[in-house]
């Protein structure tokens, strides 16, 4: 009984601490940028929006990218947690099973071949990217079905690495045959960017992201047991095959939504889960929400750096996350070693 109330206290502390961090980041980040804006003017409704530069900088340039950063950061972080538990591998990340590579291939095909369509205000590149991630998810899912017939986690992991390499080779082939302009635009896309400049792509990404989080909510207990071992999980009454499928599909959906919105933003999905585990321990009931909230705050902060460090020129956010995440991860590895 004391145990339970103790856990409830930890849950409340975790939620409120990380929640405050995420909300604080969401509120503060739109106020900072390469130019200074007057909030009173930005929120002055008596001025027509079409002429109000301060309002446009706030609502078109900054707010969408803060929201996009929150969505992408939390999606990638939770996907990372789930993949690490599912594959029982601390090095697993949202990129591991090839969903990112599928999303990248879709985007690069759309850029190179000038696909020119849009759906509900979302343009061709993010749509093709999400389709690509879905294709990769299909392959991963097929693998998981095969896996039910006695294939090991190691095989799934190897298959994911192979799929990533395969799709990566196709990406490079397309870049190689493309004209110089397209190649430049694809390279730029591959560095990641949260400057979405509209709300429609965020709304579109919210759909698969919500479905994914619907899956994640059912997972904490099962992930705790699966990350120890499938046999003991099955012995404790977990429907291992079903939980693994939910985990796989949810994490892949979140990854696909994130990558199609912002491009491949490296290292968020690997650094955030490890950092969060250092703080709250290994219990997935704490790790999952804490990662979602901390991931949002982390990516908002990285994007803030990306757009202010060299202002008015911006750094691609993927470079910032890797430059901060890379050294940190190395330190983590050597500290453990």
């Amino acid at each position: 009984m004391a145990d339970r109330s103790n856990f409830r206290r930890r849950l409340i502390v975790t939620w409120s601490a990380f929640g405050a961090l995420a909300v604080g980041a969401c509120l503060l980040a739109p106020l900072v940028g390469s130019t200074s804006i007057r909030l009173a003017v930005a929120f002055d409704r008596s001025r027509p929006f079409a002429d109000n530069i301060d309002a446009q900088i706030f609502f078109i340039a900054r707010l969408p990218r803060v929201l996009a950063a929150a969505l992408v950061g939390s999606g990638l972080s939770v996907a990372g947690v789930v993949f690490q538990a599912l594959l029982r591998n601390p090095l697993a990340s949202p990129d591991t099973l090839g969903v990112s590579a599928g999303a990248a291939l879709g985007a690069i095909l759309a850029i190179t071949f000038h696909l020119d369509f849009s759906l509900l205000g979302v343009s061709a590149v993010p749509l093709a990217s999400f389709a690509g991630s879905f294709g990769a998810l299909g392959i991963v899912y097929a693998l998981s079905v095969v896996r039910r017939r006695g294939t090991s986690t190691m095989v799934l992991l190897l298959a994911g690495v192979t799929l990533t390499a395969l799709l990566g080779a196709v990406v490079r082939f397309v870049q190689y045959i493309a004209d110089f302009t397209e190649t430049f635009q694809t390279v730029r896309w591959l560095m990641g960017s949260l400057d979405v400049a509209a709300y429609a792509p965020i709304g579109a990404a919210l759909v698969p992201m919500t479905a994914a989080f619907g899956g994640f909510v059912t997972l904490p207990r099962a992930l705790d047991l699966i990350s120890v071992g499938s046999e003991s999980a099955a012995a404790r009454g977990v429907d291992v095959a079903r939980s693994e499928r939910v985990a796989l599909v949810s994490a892949s959906l979140a990854t696909g939504a994130a990558v199609s919105l912002a491009g491949p933003v490296s290292f968020v999905g690997i650094v955030v889960p490890h950092l969060v585990r250092l703080i709250v321990g290994a219990d997935h009931r704490l790790v999952l929400p804490a990662s979602a909230l901390f991931g949002a705050a982390f990516l908002i902060a990285c994007d803030l750096l990306a757009r202010t460090v060299l202002a008015p020129v911006e750094l691609p956010v993927g470079i910032v996350t890797a430059m901060i995440g890379g050294p940190f991860f190395l330190w983590l590895l050597f500290r453990r070693g």
């Binding site: 940028g33 390469s34 130019t35 929006f49 079409a50 002429d51 109000n52 530069i53 446009q56 900088i57 078109i60 340039a61 900054r62 990218r65 759309a110 850029i111 071949f113 000038h114 696909l115 020119d116 369509f117 849009s118 343009s123 061709a124 590149v125 870049q175 004209d179 110089f180 302009t181 397209e182 190649t183 430049f184 635009q185 390279v187 730029r188 896309w189 960017s193 400057d195 979405v196 400049a197 509209a198 792509p201 757009r307 008015p312 020129v313 911006e314």
Partner: protein, 310 residues
């Protein structure tokens, strides 16, 4: 990854896209001196080359313009102008020259981009004279025409052709001279159907120079680099009076220009958008720093100052 990005940027350069953000800009005078020195320093003296391979689209166009087109026996994969080049064998691009095919053409002069270090070394080993080419700003175009003309033994024709280019540019400058110069954003790339990854010409390079001749004030004139990635916030704060967006490459003309122009309505406070001064120009002459640059300047000027041409 880093190497790959650099290679891609160099690739872009070879085709004259002017995407050279991270490469150092050396003083213009030094480049001019290099171009002048090239006609005498490289290759055996006074031999008049008969079989020329040009690895760069802009030098191919220059060779045709000065009357050496019938001696061009090989071009790069990226050459599409003039139409005659479609019949000439292709020998690869900037980062993947096909040395075997190049040698089989038995050239007695190869025009290479200066960064093609391996190719230069291989050609030197094979005893084939080279003309190393780089381009940076507008003045380099006519400088190179003159020096390349001297190298292929057509000094007079080259001088005349270079002079024609200079005269037509001066004429454009005169037509729009004295008129108010709109702050202009020159966009050279962006994602289809959205304002993402907007890549614009910075305050350095031939596109910047052409824009200034055509009566525009470059809104990024203070940024001394050939290209700048523009964030939405930067577009809003720089508030250009006019936006010229260049569309080029093989697959472009089929695009729905009105829809692409409409994408800019996402930033309604930008004066160019508010006043309907977003111009989408389709054509390859904008990205090849060769003699067709006069057409590019003329089209910029007509877009920015239509009243001057009535």
């Amino acid at each position: 990854m880093n190497t790959w990005i650099r290679l891609t940027l160099l690739w872009a350069l070879s085709c004259g896209a002017g995407l050279q953000p991270w490469l150092e800009a050396s003083p213009d005078t030094r480049n001019t001196a290099r171009i002048q020195a090239r006609s005498r320093a490289v290759g055996p003296p006074a031999s008049r080359p008969r079989r020329i391979v040009s690895m760069v689209p802009s030098t191919t166009e220059m060779l045709f313009e000065i009357g050496a087109g019938d001696r061009v026996v090989g071009v790069s994969n990226y050459d599409h102008f003039p139409l005659d080049v479609e019949k000439i064998p292709r020998v690869g691009g900037l980062i993947d020259p096909n040395v075997e095919r190049l040698l089989s053409l038995r050239p007695d002069l190869v025009v290479v981009y200066d960064t093609q270090v391996d190719l230069k070394r291989q050609l030197e080993r094979a005893g084939i004279p080279i003309y190393p080419y780089t381009h940076r700003n507008l003045a380099d175009i006519t400088q190179t025409m003159r020096s390349l003309g001297a190298r292929v033994g057509l000094q007079e024709a080259a001088d005349a052709a270079a002079q024609r280019v200079e005269q037509r540019l001066a004429a454009t400058r005169t037509v729009v001279g004295g008129r108010p110069r709109p702050k202009t954003l020159l966009v050279i790339g962006r994602d289809r159907g959205s304002l993402r990854n907007v890549n614009a010409s910075g305050g350095y390079g031939f596109l910047h120079d052409v824009l200034e001749i055509a009566g525009g004030a470059d809104v990024l004139a203070d940024m001394q680099r050939q290209s700048v990635m523009m964030s939405t916030e930067m577009i809003l704060t720089r508030a250009p009076d006019a936006i010229i967006e260049l569309l080029y490459g093989a697959t472009n003309p089929s695009r729905n220009l009105d829809a692409e122009r409409g994408v800019w309505n996402a930033v309604p406070s930008v004066p160019a958008v508010k006043n309907g001064r977003v111009y989408l120009l389709v054509g390859d002459e904008f990205v090849v720093p060769g003699p067709r640059i006069v057409t590019a300047a003329d089209r910029f000027a007509r877009a920015l100052h239509p009243e001057a041409f009535k």
